[in-house]
């Protein structure tokens, strides 16, 4: 047993500025031929722990044993020396390089005499042969000459994995690898991971998705608030027990889908065409509508136009053609401020969580008033009431922060999101457009967000929910619209569909709009506008343009 143990952590502690204890006396063992899932809520210290193993942070206390020997890992380079490779949540690849250039980047033989030989054709050929061998062994599918910027997320991830394998990693750490993948791609990844396990590698995988934990792992290590709780065998546990261990108390794992009796269409999108920044088409002739008291999910692989759609509705991006009708009024051409005042709220959580909607170096208080700082008379900003609102929000959503004056960039990801989503809902909108509101959030925080959304739904708010976890969308949304390359693949009732169908629609293999051609697709029967009005409006628009 002892000989199979590749990494053993003893009493590892790490304290961040401001007395934030990220890890406290963590003991953890990782064995060969084993997939270990690391489970914990946001801010429970999983990523910190993995960063310590991969040399990004240095522990304040404790000991790391690798193959039973004491090891000091003070840089990622050291980590590679000990055959540890980490695949980060945000890929660290050079966009303009090809796959093979990225893979062999930085791999040097001893000293500097070999510096540029890594780029010599001979070495490159050798490397290519090695990579092909690796790819065959584990079943990767990769085009080595393709540039990174041409790649899909899944392909980029493959490059990252091959990169660490090429460097001879025996211990692989994957930080939320499935967060950005479609169900089919996830399945493919799991096949590869299992092959690696058979080959004697030790794999640590961080994920929030319990069903994936159950599917892929051999053991589950659970962390809570920086402390290591226990390790359980996957075959001897279930999702409920894991959640309880993780949260520390009993929780109800059920997403509600309350029925409401509001049914007027609130927001109607008709024949909308939107371009991306580079001029290519983002959304191509899409029509749909949201009723009050309804959650409409939008599914699609990353980059299929969700972001542009959100921005267009919020008035941040000009549209090429089409109409956005809100309570019978066209929103197109209105400045963002007016759209906010009409009660259309948009919150988009980008991958870095801070890009849109929050100012990272502003305090929570100052972030509370981003949309309404100009309310009230006089030239000065009213921070007093903002502070009260910030404190109320901190209490209501249990935001972990030293004070309401802490800059949001110092908060952990989950808390940042609570600030954003909480603020949007506090403003009392009648349409909420929310993209990835639970991106990277743990179970408990996610459920808080779902509850908030459902609460709004019951009040008659129309919600457009752009998500990535299909299981959640199937449970939470009333209807789901699937986008593929900017085209609408159809709207399905969440109760009557399956993950597989959605997966097929997301990749464009199934197009439901083709099947219902006669049905005037995406236009509500009891639309705010009659057909005549709609046509008149279109004529008016085109006349106006000429």
């Amino acid at each position: 047993m002892e000989s199979n143990c590749v990494i053993q952590l003893k009493n590892i502690s790490k304290i961040f500025p401001g007395k934030v204890v990220a890890n406290k006396n963590v003991n953890l063992s990782v064995y060969k031929n084993e997939i270990l899932a690391l489970l914990g809520e946001n801010g429970s210290g999983k990523t910190t722990l993995m960063n310590i193993i991969s040399g990004i942070y240095y522990p304040d206390e404790g000991q790391i044993l690798i193959d039973g020997k004491d090891a000091v890992i003070k840089s990622p380079k050291d980590a590679f020396k000990y055959k540890i490779g980490m695949i980060h949540q945000h890929f660290k690849l050079v966009e303009t390089f090809t796959a093979i250039e990225n893979i062999i980047l930085g791999v040097k033989k001893d000293g500097f005499k070999d510096v540029d030989s890594e780029n010599s054709p001979k070495k490159r050929k050798k490397a290519a042969a090695m990579i092909t061998e690796l790819a065959e062994k584990y079943g990767f599918n990769i085009d080595l000459k393709k540039k990174i910027y041409d790649m899909s997320v899944s392909e980029k991830q493959t490059v990252e994995i091959i990169k660490v394998l090429y460097r001879g990693a025996d211990i692989l750490i994957l930080d939320e690898p499935t967060a950005v993948l479609t169900p089919q791609e996830t399945e493919k990844l799991f096949v590869i991971l299992r092959k690696m396990r058979e080959d004697g590698k030790a794999i640590i995988i961080i994920t929030h998705k319990l069903n994936e934990v159950m599917e892929i792992s051999d053991k589950v290590a659970i962390m809570r608030k920086g402390e290591y709780i226990t390790t359980v065998k996957t075959c001897e546990t279930n999702e409920k027990q894991l959640t309880e261990l993780m949260v520390g108390k009993k929780v109800e794992l059920k997403i509600d889908r309350p029925k409401t009796d509001f049914d007027r269409p609130l927001l109607e999108i008709r024949d909308i065409v939107i371009d991306k920044d580079d001029g290519s088409r983002a959304i191509d002739d899409v029509s749909f509508y949201i009723r009050g008291g309804e959650i409409l999910g939008v599914a699609g692989i990353a980059g299929c136009g969700q972001k542009e759609l959100c921005e267009a509705i919020a008035g941040l991006r000009p549209i090429k053609s089409g109409l956005i009708m809100h309570k019978g009024e066209n929103l197109i051409g209105l400045p963002p401020k007016v759209i906010i005042e009409k009660g259309v709220s948009m919150s988009f959580i980008p991958e870095d969580r801070l890009g849109m909607g929050l100012a990272p170096s502003f305090s929570i208080t100052d972030n509370m008033i981003i949309k309404n700082y100009s309310d009230g008379k006089g030239p000065f900003v009213d921070r007093k009431s903002a502070r009260a609102r910030a404190n109320a929000l901190i209490q209501k959503l249990e935001i972990v922060t030293p004070s309401s004056e802490t800059p949001v960039r110092r908060l952990s990801g989950g808390n940042v999101q609570k600030v954003l989503v909480g603020r949007e809902i506090e403003a009392g909108p009648n349409v909420i457009i929310t993209a990835y509101p639970v991106r990277g959030l743990d179970i408990n925080s996610s459920y808080v967000i779902y509850d908030i959304l459902n609460e709004q739904k019951k009040k008659g708010t129309g919600i457009l929910f752009i998500g990535e976890d299909l299981d959640v969308m199937l449970a939470l949304c009333d209807k789901i619209m699937v986008l593929c390359h900017g085209k609408n693949m159809g709207v399905v009732h969440a109760e009557k569909t399956t993950k597989e169908v959605l997966g097929l629609m997301m990749t464009g293999s199934l197009d439901l709009t083709e099947e219902k051609k006669d049905k005037n697709y995406g236009i509500a029967k009891d639309s705010n506008l009659t057909e005549e009005e709609w046509k008149k409006k279109m004529e008016g628009e085109s006349n106006g343009d000429d």
Binding site: G18, G68, D70, V72, G355, M356, P360, F362, S374
Partner: protein
Amino acid sequence: METIKTVKEPLFHVIKRGDLSLTRQILVRVIAILSGLLLGSIICWIVYKTSPFVFIYYLIKGNFNPFDNFLELIKRSMLLLMIGLALIPPFTMKFWNLGGNGQILMGGLATIICMKYLGGVMPDGVVWILMLLFSMAIGAIWAVIPAVFKAFFKTNETLFTLMMNYIAAGIMLYAIKIISGKNTTGTIGIVKTANLPELGHPAVLVALIAIIVTIFITLYMKYSKHGYEVALVGDSRNTAKYSGINVKVVIIRTLVLSGAICGLAGFLLAGSVNHTLVTEETMAKSGFTAFTAIIAVWIAHNNPLATIGVSFGIMFLNNGMEYARTNLNITEEAIPSMIIGLIYLVVIACEFFITYKLKFNGKKTSRKANTAEMLKEDK
């Protein structure tokens, strides 16, 4: 159970500090300034064979004795402060306005034109008001041109504002030629009409206006809605757009303000201090240009109140060094500027110790003690 060999740990590693209390931050900076001065006097001692503390002695004497020297220090540091204040809003917005010099020069030009051609024609009071308005307006125009290009065409503001300095310098040469007319000395001399009131010493008027501007900028940046917009645009342009702010308007408005304050500095330089056209040379001679103000604002972390202290410190060093040079008969300029540069360097380098700390690793067993100590310290 195997026996475990311990491996040697690195000597120290760098870790980020929490928020250092204000008093300790000030303490670190004071230590940095003192060690910078010490370093300066050691170099003086080695290079000029003076006694080690003569440098520090001259530094202090040059600034306080006679009292006129102190008034000069106040005047210069208040002018530097004012230029710094002009740069705070654009810098907070991450708009790098390097065109302060040009904006000051143009403000000075407007002032001198008013003094020369309207002085004596109209009552002084009216001329003063016109001088003030024109200098601020032309300064604002000089700053707003690059801002408009930045807002609408996304041109790079650093290069653009820098180039505007050269244009201003060129215009100044031309203006000297026109104003001096047939007078071939190539200068316009001292303009004697419509000089600004002295109130005892030019330092008084300058200090009064600088204090007003300081209060204004502090309130503007910290509490006003405009200041909030400026900070938001600087922090995250996407978020600013998302909140419904018209980013273009904010950029242009902020640069109007910045340019106007620079113009105001030009107004004071021309109307009250020099009584003649301001050029980059005359500014450099008095120890500062808009580029010095950039350093001041940078060290002060865009904080208007901290800029007061930093401007004062910079001019203190500069004036003291000038005095030391005269008294030590140092003719060359390289080593004195090098000493001043070194002192800056030490002061700026101390920021590292405010943000980070080195943690020395003892034996394995002492790590625990380290952690406990850290927790205690952070309280």
